[in-house]
């Protein structure tokens, strides 16, 4: 595809003037050539041509699609979303039965994707920061071990990691009857991890209120402390006071209202556990594999971010009398974060997109529900694939919008 040079143009105008003179003699045979030699005109022509070709292409494939659909006796409509789905989903965060609609199945899928992506992002970040710091440790042994782990993890496809972990969970963990129990309340089995479920009583609402109030108070206190510091230079231990408020106030409220929370402990009945919460093997495998796979990348990002802060910064901080803790907190970490956050965003996006590999082990995410079983049952390939693609686009946009906002917040403010 021919593309015109960027249209700035002292040179272009000179050429144009020459050609205008030449064209005057040769008449309009050269008119086309003259327009073509004008950079701006050429840019317009190229763009119009591109658009025409693009529209023609889309018209062509849409026409093809219409013909193909007509030939197969199908129509393009989203009515199927309101028909009963008639298939079972093994992990549902909202109520779902066989009679629920395809739309409901899609919602279940979206929530499952969001759950595994959200949990994965949290664990991957924590693990990644720990590994990244350990990778910088002076301890040779731990340094090497982390290095080997990172290299092994990064150089093997994520799908293999998922299958490997899934295989390990199914084969190494015991059957429910011989479950590994953790203090008689949580159980590890190859049918999943069974955890006690908190059942809040009526008075538990007060604890929620207390949490909200504590966060509000902390925020106000921070605001006030910063004002005082700007005015007088006096520093309050904002972190510890805030931490104390956020933990202490709800805890006190909880105790004062008579600890209105009971636990539903899973119990072995027949061949499996009943009650409590269960994290199924598919979820565990996907979550763990995605987390450690992504954490290897995050570790390298963290390491390079910390190394990117020049040693002179630390020396300068010491020279003006900051203690090591304050140096780390005020000088090193803010600068390292600026390097870390942009690539961290793309790792979060990668994790979310990689969660689509769920289909390989039967975790019911978007691809497996609406793009898998619903597609097979209704034969609506186009409609369902369009839904799946747009959901992922929305996920990506939301994550990158949030991280861009965060990035802007920590960015260097230049004069």
């Amino acid at each position: 595809m021919p593309t015109a040079p960027p249209g700035e143009g002292v040179e272009g105008e000179a050429v144009l003037a020459n050609h205008a003179a030449a064209a005057g003699k040769a008449g309009d045979t050269n008119a086309v050539l003259r327009v073509w030699r004008n950079k701006e005109a050429r840019a317009v022509i190229v763009q119009i041509l591109t658009l025409v070709i693009l529209f023609a292409f889309f018209a062509y494939i849409i026409d093809n699609a219409a013909q193909n659909l007509a030939r197969l006796g199908k129509t393009f409509s989203y009515d199927f979303l309101w028909e009963p789905a008639n298939y079972d989903i093994n992990q549902t965060l909202i109520s779902y039965t066989l009679q629920s609609t395809h739309f409901r199945a899609m919602l279940v899928g979206i929530l499952n994707t969001a759950l595994v992506a959200g949990c994965g992002i949290v664990l991957a970040t924590v693990l990644g920061f720990v590994l990244g710091v350990l990778r910088l440790s002076k301890n040779w042994l731990i340094n090497r071990i982390v290095y080997c782990f990172i290299e092994f993890t990064r150089n093997v496809p994520v799908l293999l990691h998922i299958l490997l972990i899934y295989g390990l969970i199914l084969n190494v963990l015991p059957v429910p009857r011989q479950a590994w129990d953790l203090g008689q309340v949580a159980f590890l089995t190859n049918r999943g991890v069974f955890l006690p479920m908190p059942v809040p009583g009526d008075a538990f609402a007060w604890t929620w209120v207390a949490i909200v109030v504590a966060i509000g108070l902390t925020w106000a206190f921070r605001h006030w402390a910063r004002k005082v510091q700007d005015k007088t230079g006096k520093i309050y231990p904002v972190f510890w006071i805030g931490f104390g408020t956020i933990v202490g106030l709800p805890a006190l409220t909880f105790l004062a209202t008579g600890a209105p929370l009971s636990w539903e402990v899973p119990a072995l009945t027949g061949f499996n556990f009943q009650g409590g919460m269960v994290a199924r093997p598919e979820f565990m495998a996907l979550w763990l594999a995605l987390s450690y796979y992504t954490s290897a990348y995050i570790a390298e990002i963290v390491r390079s971010g910390i190394l990117a802060v020049h040693w002179g910064q630390t020396e300068a901080a010491y020279a003006i009398g900051l203690r090591p803790n304050r140096t780390l907190q005020l000088i090193v970490i803010p600068q390292a974060l600026r390097v870390i956050v942009p690539p961290l965003t793309s790792q979060f996006l990668n994790l979310t997109k990689n969660s689509s590999l769920a289909i390989a082990i039967g975790y019911m995410d978007i691809v497996a529900t609406i793009g898998g079983i619903s597609l097979m049952q209704t034969g609506k390939e186009m409609e369902t694939m369009l839904i799946v693609l747009s959901i992922y686009l929305v996920f990506s946009l939301v994550i990158s919008a949030f991280m861009n906002w965060y990035n802007k917040k920590i960015k260097l403010v230049e004069r």
């Binding site: 193909n68 659909l69 002076k138 301890n139 731990i142 150089n155 994520v158 293999l160 693609l389």
Partner: protein, 374 residues
């Protein structure tokens, strides 16, 4: 430590008591002290790592080597001699792992393509190879030559692409994606930098779309949806559809890497090229792109590695790469329950190739980094 005699005390010549020996100043002991037991945290970390190694390495070695069976005709044979890994399975199926279902009589074509691949890579890897330009020309032609060799036609017996599988399939998808995504990625990056709004918008939309969706959904589109958009009655090869999708996917990422390189070129370079009277394409070809591509090489190699690892995803639409071969072979009742062996074998294969590529990227990074170092 002993109390050293103070200097104020006076001794007659020759009567000075011996000083205590100095602490460790060098040698392995000091190294151990500094690097493993330097502080309390350090000592704890060392103890933890030793424990970690102790619980993981010996059982793995036991399972993988000492208790492993290396020959046999079924899983029962393995279990009869050893309780650990059953590598006999891999040995038994090795040819399928490498060639897939490629006809036995024609396998020399695969071997020849592999050999040519090595020849094609050499001039890319090293700068001072004799006749580098001629060899690079061959490298550019290689995908087509190999395509002809593998698919057949024009005098060679045609082989259906449904017979491709195993490492052959991985390499076909990887090499095709790598060789076609780079030029497309460069064009997209230029489009994104273009001053023409239509081209720029289209490039941005394409790149962001590709980067916003997972490869797996694109593969589903290729397998389930693409045939709707073709003229009625036509149908084209599944492998070809996958190749197109993988190439487009990788080129979206490549475009961003190249854009990074383009942005790092100072504006003065563009202006200098323009002031010499170079047009857009000449400016890009002779001045800007050589520099931009050079600094983005590490990123390009990383994209290649990602693409190469992503080739495993084709199993979800039914193509049999090594992982798919392994999983389908496990369905054979003689070999059931050996999934760990298969996964580890495939993991080792990917590790070797990807680790090699990433080492190469590091080497290039060091070679190209001529800036100021601490």
């Amino acid at each position: 430590m002993n109390e050293a005699p103070t200097t104020t005390q006076k001794y007659p010549p020759g009567k000075h008591p011996s000083m205590p020996p100095p602490g460790i100043a060098s040698g392995p002991l000091l190294w151990i002290k500094d690097n493993l037991f330097g502080s309390v945290t350090n000592t704890v970390l060392t103890a933890l790592s030793i424990w970690l190694l102790w619980v993981t390495i010996p059982p793995l070695l036991q399972w993988g080597f000492i208790d492993a069976a290396f020959s046999g005709e079924s899983r029962k044979d393995c279990r009869a001699v050893a309780s650990g890994a059953c590598w006999a399975f891999i040995q038994n199926r090795f040819e399928i792992f490498v060639y897939g279902f490629y006809p036995k009589a024609e396998r020399w074509r695969v071997d020849l393509s592999g050999l040519l691949l090595i020849v094609a890579i050499i001039p890319v890897l090293w700068e001072n190879v004799p006749h580098r330009l001629k060899m690079l020309a061959f490298t550019a032609a290689f995908p087509f030559v190999a395509g002809w060799l593998l698919v057949g036609g024009l005098g060679l017996k045609p082989v259906g692409t449904n017979e491709f599988g195993g490492f052959l399939l991985t390499l076909v998808i990887g090499v095709t994606g790598i060789s076609f995504s780079l030029p497309i990625g460069v064009l997209l990056a230029l489009g994104r930098q273009s001053k023409m709004p239509v081209l720029r918008t289209l490039s941005v939309a394409f790149i962001e779309f590709i980067r916003g969706v997972p490869l797996i959904t694109l593969l589903f589109v290729a397998s389930a949806m693409l045939s709707y958009f073709l003229p009625p009655g036509t149908d084209f090869n599944l492998l070809l559809r996958v190749l197109i999708m993988v190439t487009l996917f990788a080129s979206g990422y490549m475009a961003e890497v190249v854009r990074g390189g383009l942005q790092a070129i100072p504006k003065g370079q563009y202006e200098a090229a323009q002031s010499m009277g170079l047009g857009y394409w000449k400016m890009m070809r002779l001045v800007v792109l050589p520099q931009a591509l050079k600094i983005s090489i590490p990123g390009i190699v990383n994209t290649f590695i990602a693409l190469y690892k992503d080739t495993t995803l084709v199993i979800v639409i039914g193509l049999l790469d090594p992982l798919g071969i392994g999983r389908s072979s496990l369905a054979d009742s003689k070999w059931q329950g050996l999934s760990s062996e298969v996964y580890i074998f495939v993991a080792v294969f990917f590790f070797i190739s990807c680790f090699g590529m990433s080492r190469y990227a590091l080497y290039l990074e060091r070679k190209l980094d001529t800036g100021y170092k601490r």
